[in-house]
Subunit: 361 residues, 2 copies
């Protein structure tokens, strides 16, 4: 079968836009990330926010991952229901609704949660009482991204002490999310925090780094026990911009149809901001790369229209043409769909559900 | 009950982020739009892309709407299953998968579709054969937005003739989407197209205008028979910027929790780009208005983090604080959730599903 036949078959079976993943490329990407971790002697704990599917998470586990990372409790619940275990939730969970659910989940699975403040830590014992065993808590540390995480080793040590003081909690370690490709700046924070808790008689079990672009630098971050990366399973234009993936390593493409060509130098895809999202991928040009027409620019959106600027290409697709779009940022695009169409090369394999999509709580 | 009690109740029952709509405000907004249409003697055909719920569509119908507008066929199928009829799909439908579904839907309901090119028109008779009756087709005209739609009256007339020539199609009229608040520029295109088809012996049944910001200008667009508007049912920061809504007329708010305060001048909401979306609302400052802290700026996102810049406010929310966020653009935010929490004032009413969410095909 040719790629043109595959496009026609997918359009006929599922319509467009379709979220298509190539499992051959997925397996290649999973093996490559696992090899980075193995080479550095670091555990692999992939972040499932990217794929949101227990099927894909099981592929990562079966290839050697020690556990998984989730960003939302609802994602963790879906993964647990799908047979996954050893789940790290890198998020401050607050409020009795979430703490009740966390307690229930922790009774059944090995779960670890993150905290970066005393209010979060004060709430977590409620979950421990429901679970009937201590909740594992890592302290989230910010070494430059200015996201979640305490900003100083002193605060990290104080929170570790606070966790260790609760019989319903168990201090589990520290999580870092170093700025892309600048692992070195996190080392000082890391060394001071680890030394500080050891001086208190606490031993971190988890010392975690993160980020797909940092997979190539794991050997430079001394002392970490595991790494969290998500995007690498599919890759995207951001990962290509980081030099961490080639176009052939982009496992996910949105199959879209040209639905309008009202002007000579413009056209419209059936994929707008409700499909490809307005994510710029950190300042990339346009909202996706069209494989068949790399000079065609996805210049803007309405909700269900992707506006094609065709002024820089003489090869212009007509109405009805099906194209493959590599997104700027795969994680947010996956979140717009309820299922994948799975292929291997130019052969259609089937569908895979995305049950953790939209698990916002 | 107070709003603080309501916030606590919603957090306890559903967790945050929660997509909360106030049905009192919804009813006010529906009545206001209907009054604009009534005053202009124009039919109201609200666009359900905004709310994606048959329950809300039925409220619009029961308040006087003559039918509904959908952007995707999957949305129309959900609305039909939910009891709605007289459905206009303002989109070029292509490919046998969609044409088969359109035929089936058209056999059961009154459906009209748009086309702006001969390829689309050449495909639609397949749907007519499946439906067992002609497919109603309107020609989409572009009077300035550079989206879908032919750019000249001559093209519009030629497509009308093409539609009328097919026994499996019925020419239904023209749809316009005038630039915001500049209805006048569409009038010339409209007059020439309508005169042109009448000269051919064709009578347009539907002469449709669109856009919530244009609701106040319907009386200036002479000859139209109906209007499509979506956003007005909830309103948002974009509608406020257009001067078409007050803050009290914003019926939808995302209830979110502050989950981190790692720095004195910054914080993090549990609502990132997978909740509030990266939609800038056409260049608004920040990604939403926090009602309780209007000086706090939602400065950026990661997927599950909304980054709060608190440097301009001395009143700074602590970890655990629940806030209400008015989105930049409601339509894309609704699309991230599976259900609404419905309230009236400070009283919780229940949940409403969003079954047309993510209907991308």
């Amino acid at each position: 079968m040719s790629i043109d036949n595959l496009k026609a078959e997918i359009a006929r079976e599922f319509g467009t836009p379709a979220l298509v993943i190539d499992l051959d490329v997925v397996e290649h990407n999973i093996a490559k990330a696992q090899a980075f971790c193995d080479a550095a002697g670091v555990g692999n704990r992939p972040h499932i926010k990217t794929h949101k599917s227990p099927v894909l998470a099981a592929m990562q586990r079966d290839a050697g991952a020690r556990g998984i990372t989730c960003q939302k409790l609802g994602e963790a619940e879906v993964m647990a229901a799908g047979g996954l275990d050893d789940i790290l939730i890198t998020y401050n969970l607050l409020g009795e609704e979430k703490l009740g659910r966390l307690g229930k989940l922790s009774a059944e699975k090995t779960v670890t949660v993150a905290a970066d403040n005393p209010v979060t830590i004060a709430g977590l014992p409620m979950a421990g009482r429901i679970a009937g065993r201590p909740i594992n808590v890592v302290v989230e540390c910010d070494s430059g991204r200015k996201r979640a995480g305490v900003e100083t080793p002193g605060e990290a040590i104080a929170l570790a002490e606070l966790i260790a003081a609760s019989p319903e909690l168990s201090f589990a370690g520290f999580v870092f999310y170093p700025p892309d490709k600048t692992v070195a700046s996190s080392q000082h924070f890391f060394d001071e925090a680890v030394a500080g808790v050891r001086a208190l008689g606490l031993e971190p079990r988890i010392l975690s780094s993160g980020g797909s672009p940092n997979l190539g630098m794991l050997q430079e971050f001394h002392g970490i026990t595991e790494h969290r990366a998500g995007t690498y399973i599919y890759n995207d234009r951001m990962m290509m911009a980081h030099g961490m993936a080639t176009l052939d390593e982009c496992a996910l493409q949105v199959y879209a149809t040209v639905v309008s060509r009202a002007g000579a130098e413009r056209g419209i895809l059936d994929s707008g901001s409700k499909t490809l999202t307005a994510d710029t991928g950190g300042g990339l040009d346009g909202f996706g790369l069209i494989r068949e027409y790399p000079q065609a620019r996805i210049a803007g959106f309405s909700e269900e229209h992707g506006m094609l600027d065709l002024s820089k290409t003489n090869d212009r697709p007509g109405v009805g043409t099906i194209v493959r779009v590599v997104p700027n940022h795969v994680c947010v695009v996956v979140n717009m769909f309820d299922r994948y169409v799975a292929v291997r090369g130019d052969r259609l394999v089937g569908e895979i559900d995305i049950p953790a999509r939209g698990k916002l709580t």
